[in-house]
Symmetry: C2
Subunit: 137 residues, 2 copies
DNA sequence: CTAAAAGTTTGAGTGCACTCCAAGTCAAGC
DNA sequence: GCTTGACTTGGAGTGCACTCAAACTTTTAG
């Protein structure tokens, strides 16, 4: 069930641009992809799986530099399992802290929105208390 | 209870660098700050509050460009309340989507970590099932 | 067979969010 | 008064993560 997808197909499938796929390969995030006789890239299922994982790392804001380290470790095979696990554990802790920070901030934004809502209500619905819309004499 | 903090004090208090505080002011994120007779910045409590809010926006990855728009609206006063609320609502939706995406990704990372753990256990503790550590004849 | 579309490479360019530099001014301690 | 450190400005520089350009080759449709 080998996929043999072209770069545009993989781009469409992953949401990355063909440019970015080549860039990732050049940067060592993706190991050299198999080629068709004419030299064009043919992505296998395993490549797609790995790219999917890279996207998880990217979604959680891992830097390209860190991903390069991780990809290199992966290339070293089973011997680097512990190191890779440690990297992920460290990263995951940062991610969880970051999620908490975003949640806190989101709550603050929500509060601000509520504040604006009550403000709008008192300005538009019933300009009585703060009646500063100059409808007087 | 006016604060009158120097730029270094505000930097220490907010975690932003003095460079960044000036940059934010130049960019229009922060309205021109009051000055001491000699020309040095003196931040008031209201400035700190606003900077705190900017940090919430930054934590939730609002771009500087968007913050500039928001800050400009704020400068227009109460008339822009509805527009500001709409901006925040739109932003908050994106933030919540982004949080969900990060949570999903974090779960995937957690699964990967577990996978590595079982892998390590079967490689180190009991090389029986997959005994590929060449201890044979 | 030909034309258009899609692929290849290296290297350069872009946009963002800072971050620093140089040259000068101001404030505080001795 | 003098030195040291904090502050000022405009503009230049940095690092990141792409993104594109140019020149070329290969594949595909008619």
């Amino acid at each position: 069930m080998e996929s043999h997808l072209s770069i545009t197909e993989v781009a469409a499938h992953t949401g990355l641009s063909a440019h970015t796929l080549r860039y990732y390969e050049r940067a060592g995030l993706i190991a050299p992809v198999a080629r068709a006789p004419g030299g064009q890239r043919r992505y296998a299922a395993a490549d797609l799986e790995w790219i999917g994982f890279l996207l998880r790392l990217r979604e959680t804001r891992m830097s390209i530099g860190q991903m390069q380290v991780f990809a290199r470790l992966r290339g070293e095979g089973a011997a680097s399992t512990a190191e890779r696990r440690q990297m992920l554990e460290t990263h995951l802790q940062e991610v969880e802290a970051s999620i908490k920070a975003m949640q806190d901030a989101a709550r603050a934004l929500q509060a601000k929105i509520e504040h604006y809502r009550t403000l709008e209500a008192s300005l538009q619905d019933t300009p009585k208390k703060t009646g500063r819309t100059k409808p007087c004499p």
